[in-house]
C-alpha cells in the first residue's frame, strides 16, 4: 500500500486536490495499485468532493483526519495526524507533494520516526535491493540518483516533474473518516492568523507570468509589466537582480530560492536567464523572451523571442491589447 498525503484546494466545481497532489497520486499509481490518500479535515473542506477527485487520480480510499486542532494548518499537528494514520494503515511507502506544506509535514513525520526522507523525487522504482530514486538537486539543475533502504519509504514528489493523469473509468475513492488523537503540545505551531498580502493572482499558480530583470532598470520600469500582467490575468515576477536592487519585493522573485512558477506562458522581459532564475521558471509551459541581446541565455531557452528594448516592446504590446 502507498499512502499519499494530499492537499486540497477550492476548484470551480467544488473542492479538489491541489495539482501537485494529483501528480503525486499519479506517481504512486505507477508503483502500486493500492493507493490510499490521506487528507486533513479542517472542517471547511468537503471531503466527499475531494474523494471524487482523488478517485479520478487513482486513490481507492481517502482517509480524512479530524481533530479540533486541525482546523488551521500547523506542521506539528498535521504531521501528528498523518503519522497516526500511517501507523494505523502501515503502508510501505508514504508520498507527499514537494510543496511547502507537503514537504514540511512529511519531514516532521520522518523526524518523529527517524525515518529517511527523500525530497523532490522525479522517478522511483523498487527492486530486491531496495529503492532506486531520481531526485533533483540545485533546484533542478542536477539530477541525483540515489538508493534508499528503509522500513518505510518516505518521499516527496517534485512538483511538475510528473504529469497528472486521470485513470480510465474513475470511481470516487472510498471516504474513511478518522478522529485522530493529538497531544496538546502540537498547538504551538498552528497558524494564528492569515493575512491577505496580495489581491492579485498568486505567482506560483498564475497562468501568465510577466517577469522583469536587469533590463527593466528601475522600480518604475515595472509599471508597464504590471499593466501587461493585468491585461492577461497574470502576475508579475522578477529576477534576483530586481529584488537586490529594491525594485520589487522578494515575494515576486522567481528562482531557486524564490517562487517556482508553472504558467502557460512566461514572458521574460530583460532577463538574462541565470541558472538560479531558470530553476524557478523551467516549469513554464512556454517562454517568450523580450531582450535587446539576441544571444542572452533566456532567449536561447525561449520558444519565442522579440529582440528589442522592453521599454518599447511592452508598452506597444499593452497598447495593442487595449486597442482590441
Amino acid at each position: 500500500m502507498i499512502v499519499v498525503f494530499v492537499e486540497t484546494t477550492a476548484g470551480d466545481d467544488g473542492d479538489v486536490l491541489a495539482g501537485p497532489s494529483r501528480q503525486a497520486l499519479t506517481l504512486a499509481r505507477s508503483l502500486d495499485d493500492d493507493v490510499v490518500a490521506v487528507a486533513v479535515d479542517d472542517g471547511e473542506v468537503d471531503l466527499d468532493e475531494v474523494a471524487e477527485d482523488a478517485g479520478r487520480y487513482g486513490a481507492v480510499q481517502l482517509h480524512g483526519a479530524w481533530h479540533d486542532l486541525l482546523d488551521r494548518y500547523g506542521p506539528e499537528s498535521w504531521a501528528a495526524a498523518l503519522d497516526g494514520l500511517v501507523e494505523e494503515l502501515a503502508p510501505g511507502v508514504v508520498l507527499a507533494a514537494g510543496t511547502e506544506r507537503g514537504g514540511e509535514v512529511l519531514a516532521h513525520v520522518a523526524a518523529r520516526r527517524d525515518l529517511p526522507l527523500v525530497a523532490n523525487v522525479t522517478h522511483a522504482e523498487a527492486d530486491d535491493a531496495g529503492w532506486r530514486l531520481q531526485r533533483v538537486r540545485w533546484g533542478g539543475s542536477l539530477f541525483e540518483h540515489t538508493r534508499l533502504e528503509a522500513e518505510r519509504v518516505l518521499l516527496t514528489v517534485q512538483p511538475h516533474a510528473v504529469d497528472a493523469v486521470e485513470v480510465v473509468d474513475p470511481a470516487a475513492a472510498e471516504l474513511v473518516e478518522h478522529d485522530v488523537e493529538l497531544d496538546d503540545v502540537v498547538a504551538r505551531t498552528r497558524v494564528v492568523e492569515e493575512v491577505v498580502t496580495s489581491t492579485g493572482v498568486s505567482l506560483a499558480t498564475a497562468p501568465v507570468v510577466v517577469g522583469g530583470g536587469r533590463g527593466v532598470g528601475s522600480a518604475e520600469g515595472f509599471a508597464d509589466l504590471e499593466r501587461l500582467a493585468g491585461l492577461l490575468g497574470g502576475a508579475v515576477g522578477c529576477s534576483r537582480v530586481a529584488t537586490n536592487n529594491g525594485w520589487r519585493p522578494h515575494r515576486d522573485q522567481v528562482g531557486q530560492t524564490g517562487t517556482a512558477i508553472a504558467p502557460t506562458i512566461y514572458i521574460a522581459c530583460g532577463i538574462s536567464g541565470a541558472i538560479q532564475h531558470w530553476a524557478g521558471a523551467k516549469s513554464a509551459k512556454h517562454v517568450l523572451a523580450i531582450n535587446t541581446d539576441a544571444e542572452a541565455n533566456m532567449v536561447a531557452r525561449a520558444d519565442w523571442a522579440v529582440v528589442g528594448d522592453l521599454h518599447q516592446v511592452v508598452p506597444a504590446l499593452v497598447a495593442a491589447i487595449e486597442a482590441r
Partner: protein, 255 residues
Amino acid sequence: MRVLACIKRVPIPGAKIPLTDDGTAVDDERLGHTVSPHEECAVEEAVRLVEAHGGTSTVLTVGPPDAEEQLRAAVSTGVDQAVLVPTDGADWDPQRTAAAVVAAIGELEQADGPFDLVLFGNESADAGGFQVGIRVAVALGRPMVQGIKEVEVDGDTVRVSRPTGTTSEVYELPLPACLGVREGLNLPRYPTMRGRLVSRKATIAEVTVDGPAGGQSLVALESPPEQEVETEVLGSGPEAIERVISVLEDLKVLT
C-alpha cells in the same frame, strides 16, 4: 538572547554544474563557495536579533575544514561566535547531519546555556533535502516552522510569518524555537572591510560529533539533458507585436 544560525558551505556554480569524473559529486575545485541565500538571511537575522535584544549570535556548520571560510564570512558580518563540526569531507545525509547538529547544540548549550532561537535555511542550495532543521527541532523537542520571511521576538514568544501565494500565515512560537527561513526575510549585509579583518583573527571553535548514517546513499549525479529549444524570433522591437498577440491567442491566455 542567544541565537544560532546553521549554515552549509556550497559551491557557486554557473549555468552548467561541473561534475567529478566518477559523477558522484560536483567538481568544485575551480568554483567559489558560499552558503545559500536562505542561510545568509539566517545569519543576518541572528545578528539583527542580537543587535536589537542583546546577547550572542553563533554560527555553526557541519562541513569540511574549508567551511571555515563561510564561518569567517559570517563573523565578518557581525556574528559573535563560529563553530565548525568537521566532517570527513563527504556530504553527510540529512539524518546524520541532523544528529551531528543536535549533538553539537547539546555541547554548546551545556557550556553556555540554551539557544533561544535556532535558525536554518529553508533548504540547502545544493542537496535541497528540506528536513535537517525539522529533524533537529523534533529531536530537541522545540517548535519549528519552515518558510519564514518575517521574525519578531516579543518576550518569550517569536511571531513569524510565511507567505503562501496571496496570503501570509502568522505563527506564534514559544521560545526556545527553531525556524527555517527564506531569502527575503531581510537584506543581508555584506562584510565590511573592518569586519573582515576582525573575522580573520576570530577563533573557530571545533566540536567533534557525529551521528549514524541514514538509509539514503547517493549513486550518481547527472546533468539534465539539454533541452534543445528552437527559438523563433518573432521580430525586432514593436514590429513584432502582431505576432506576439497571435501567440498569446493561440495559447488562449488572450481571448
